[in-house]
């Protein structure tokens, strides 16, 4: 992937709308859209500033829809099942989230459910809400800016991929104890994690902010 450093000329003459400041070190640049697939990188601290991809909007919408469907499906199908000495039990993702049943663990239950189901799901809704009008060249829906801001704020709290690795660790822990089987939801969840990671890679926040600004003016 070719890498392009942003313009490092002193930005005194440029209009303020065209400036971009590195969020990590506050260095100022004149924003210049790099070619698709290339990245603009802060020459000071090497933070990636702009990284547009070709047809990113449509790809993100497609992937986000897929994620949404998979989350719903993965919720209700059995996730893992276990058998030992004639006793069996199968569990869904909702069971895992609500496993902290006692009162003092209620908070933890809520937290796990939020991190692996609700926050990722909410993010898909927010991203669709913001991106669908942009891609179809329509004016943004009301509060699109707030929606996109929220989706960015929630990003670190969506922990589906961490849950997936947690499954692997849990499996190894009980593999001596009992027979483990994978339910359909397990495979859906694995696909979902990969889609989420690809999706985040496509999303260039600066481009989205820029087009939100242009559309509304």
């Amino acid at each position: 992937m070719p890498t392009v450093a942003t313009d490092t000329n002193l930005p005194d003459a440029a209009p303020i709308e065209d400036l971009i400041a590195c969020p990590h070190c506050d260095a100022l640049y004149v924003a210049k859209m790099p070619e698709n697939g290339a990245r603009a990188i802060c020459s000071h601290c090497h933070t990636v500033l702009i990284a547009p991809k070709r047809q990113a909007g449509k790809k993100i919408i497609a992937l986000t829809l897929a994620v949404m469907i998979l989350v719903f499906a993965a919720l209700f199908f059995p996730f893992l099942d276990i058998n030992a000495s004639g006793f069996g039990n199968s569990t869904s993702i909702l069971d895992a989230a609500s496993s902290f049943r006692s009162v003092d663990m209620l908070f933890l239950s809520f937290l796990v459910a939020a991190a692996i189901i609700f926050v990722p799901l909410l993010r898909t809704f927010l991203i669709l809400y913001v991106l669908v009008p942009i891609v179809r060249d329509r004016p943004p829906l009301p509060h699109a800016r707030r929606a996109f801001r929220w989706s960015q704020d929630l990003k670190p709290w969506a922990m589906a991929e961490i849950f997936a690795i947690g499954c692997a660790v849990a499996l190894v822990k009980v593999v001596d104890l009992a027979q483990i089987g994978f339910g359909p939801a397990f495979w859906m969840f694995s696909a979902l994690v990969i889609l989420v990671l690809i999706n985040d890679n496509f999303l260039c926040t600066w481009s989205v902010w820029k087009s939100l600004e242009l559309e509304e003016d």
């Binding site: 709308e17 893992l80 276990i82 496993s99 908070f107 933890l108 796990v112 499954c167 902010w209 600004e213």
Partner: protein, 197 residues
């Protein structure tokens, strides 16, 4: 003056970004205060997380409680060194390393440091990226305690440490988010040419 959220630049004196609505401040003056507050909360929650049991296992013949480190040692005894290593790294090495890294970043942005700002920015990015992965232990407990419910043969229940560990991870994530990485570069800009941006 720049918006940290969408990188739009505004003239001095605005308090909200007109593009994304994020709060603007030339420098977040309370940043370090918030960092230390969450940092201390994180440490306080991390102590009981190591003392109390994480998992309570009941089998036909016995009932055992295991702490984070105890559980990893037990797994290593069965020969799964890889898994034991993952658990130790995710729930001991990373949290402790994170506490040290955040403290170092916060201290060095006030007092200066021999480590170059580029390196420290890198460290900050690592801390931000890796912080969420400590939740893995909480998820393992959640999966195990919902899966292993085989009436009398074996059952696993979460212990009190699961809660405090989760809280500790959240507090340190908040602590890292409160840190304003621009502070790393300010000290450097002040030193050589004596002007602040």
């Amino acid at each position: 003056m720049a918006c940290r959220r969408c990188a739009r630049v505004w003239p001095m004196g605005r308090d909200r970004c007109g593009r994304c609505g994020g709060k603007l401040s030339s420098r977040d003056t309370k940043s370090l205060q918030k960092v230390w507050a969450w940092w201390i909360a994180g440490i306080v929650a991390y102590i009981p997380a190591n003392i109390y049991p994480m998992l309570v296992t009941n089998t036909l013949v016995s009932s055992s409680e295991s702490t984070i480190i105890g559980g990893a040692v037990e797994i290593a005894k069965y020969g799964s060194y890889g898994v034991a290593a993952i658990i130790l790294i995710a729930s001991v090495l990373i949290p402790v390393g994170k506490f040290l890294a955040i403290a170092f970043l916060a201290l060095s942005s006030v007092r200066g440091s021999s480590v170059s700002p580029g390196r420290r920015t890198h460290l900050y990015e690592i801390v931000e990226f890796i912080g969420r992965w400590s939740m893995i232990d909480v998820f393992v407990v959640a999966i195990l305690s919902s899966l292993v419910q085989l009436s009398v043969v074996a059952s696993i229940r979460p212990g009190p440490a699961a809660l405090t560990f989760a809280l500790s991870v959240i507090f340190t994530m908040l602590s890292a988010q409160a840190f304003d990485p621009r502070l790393i570069w300010d000290a450097e800009r002040r030193a050589p040419n004596g002007k602040t941006p």
